[in-house]
Amino acid sequence: MYQYDKYDQAIVDARVEEFRDQVRRRMAGEITEDQFKPLRLMNGLYLQLHAYMLRVAIPYGTLSGKQMKMLGHIARKYDRDYGHFTTRQNLQYNWIKLEDTPDILADLASVEMHAIQTSGNCIRNISSDQYAGAAADEVTDPRPWAELLRQWSTFHPEFSYLPRKFKIAVIASAEDRAAMRLHDIGIELVKKDGVLGARIFVGGGMGRTPMIAPEINPFVPAEDLLSYLEACLRVYNRYGRRDNAYKARIKILIHEHGADNYRADVAKEFAHVKTLGLDPPLAEFDRITAFFAAPAFDATAADDLDLSDPDFAVWVDQNVKPHKAKGYAIVNIAVKPTGGIPGDATSDQIDLMADLATAYSFDELRVTHAQNIVLPHVKKADLYAVWQKLNDAGLANANLDLISDIIACPGLDYCSLANARSIPVAQKISERFADLERQRDIGELKLKISGCINACGHHHAGHIGILGVDKKGVENYQITLGGSGAEDVSIGKIMGPGFDENGAVDAIERIVEKYREVREGDERFLDTYRRVGNDVFKEAIYG
């Protein structure tokens, strides 16, 4: 894992002091809420329905046991004993006091963490593949690249008042586990003639106008990456729309201006930017990369596994993924208990996951965009012990990627932008499908729920998506089918008129039963939908 040096630490410490003074000025009335808002947002502090909400950055979703412990400590000391893992691999606290935030940021800084640029119209936390450094299928570890981007984007003086927020994801596998092409910039690391470089996609996103990012450059060599991104951002900062917040994302610029024109503008800007010496030397990249060297895996670790406990065997089959090192495995902790709140974990659960990471996973954890936690490097011989401890803490639900592994935004229970509640719908669906055998028979089915058109719950990318809307003051839920955030990326289609909460749950069940009826062989729901089309499912929903 990356470790701060004195420069990194000084920057994060300075931010704490800066924000302490900004909070003081706000409390003293020296600045208005309108002036304070962008300042607090750039520190991840929102004013939500019930209180201030603090979003803590977890860069590219990677954190240590000690950092995870700190998240548990803050939940206990300053919040109401829980935290919420988000689709951007971050953690949110829902009940924060403005007066406490400088001290919370200081606590975070003491373990090399921060809340910098987790909101605001700036470059947000860089997201990545949760299996980075462990995945059997990766070309390289994407995290050194993501860390390079974290540093470059932190307090970037030119790009802190962009037309709108800006999200970047970096992956390094053909399998996309980070919804890369639904980001403002998606980067896929690839090898060309033995040399690593970046394939660049620009202009993806969800929200009210979902778009899949087109490829803007098939190969940018490592030594040009920051200059190229600088050019991408400058073109956006200068020409992105500022007349209408709903049309201010880069996807709209590219959609209206054309990908070819944008590509040409970036090429021109890049030709200039590249003369400025903005790219750090290769030695800096090497320095960062060294932090991500593979841990000292035990070469003699055994590959065999005792699966005689049937519950354990199911969990292994569903939640444990292949590791690149022999005798090791990737453990997924689904933070999706039946009837629970997707992504919510208590302080004690956070502590437990931290302890497991320290004891069994070389002190590392990951947060996934599906609001789950990963222990990336667990010895197969330790899996049973890990599972038992997770089970005792209510964290061993074997539902990864199944219908109850639901992504849900906080919705109207917490969020001031929401039109409808998301969490109760997720709870009812997970209860309806509580039977694990039935879920496993249904197989991979990504269900995603958003409580408003901003699509924080990724409904556009759900195999089944649910969008909560306000219908004359009453919560109403529309269903979309056929979306995907993976390498077979697509945007779901709205099926028809919406339902109330219970009606939506019933409709989901009818969709699922129709799928079971018409699927061929071991075809996934998504593949069946793509094969048979809308009408079969519309008939099932409304017929």
Binding site: M27, L49, H50, L98, E99, D413, I423, D470, G473, V474
Partner: protein, 92 residues
């Protein structure tokens, strides 16, 4: 009937105008009538409230809009954390 609501600047707590000050309990809220705008202006300027606004309330004395009913009640999925979790989110 018009209620006034907002958040406490320091703690962020949801608060309601009682005629004399701000309460966390919506049942203590009073009709601000025509004075709504003037009260909000004065209270904001004195930083006794933040992000304040007026809401229409029904015969039950509770806000009509579901969003403000959620604010009054607390999260429906964490009844242990709300100030008045018994409040129904649907209009009476």
């Amino acid at each position: 009937m018009k209620l006034l609501t907002g958040n406490d600047l320091g703690s962020g707590d949801v608060v309601w105008w009682t005629g004399k000050g701000w309460s966390r309990n919506v049942h203590e809220a009073v009709d601000a009538g025509d004075a709504a705008e003037a009260i909000l202006k004065e209270e904001e300027a004195a930083r006794r409230v933040n992000a304040s606004y007026a809401v229409d309330a029904g015969a039950d004395g509770l806000p009509l809009h579901i969003k403000d009913r959620v604010r009054a009640a607390g999260p429906s999925v964490r009844k242990d954390l709300g100030v008045n979790p018994e409040i129904r989110l649907e209009k009476a």
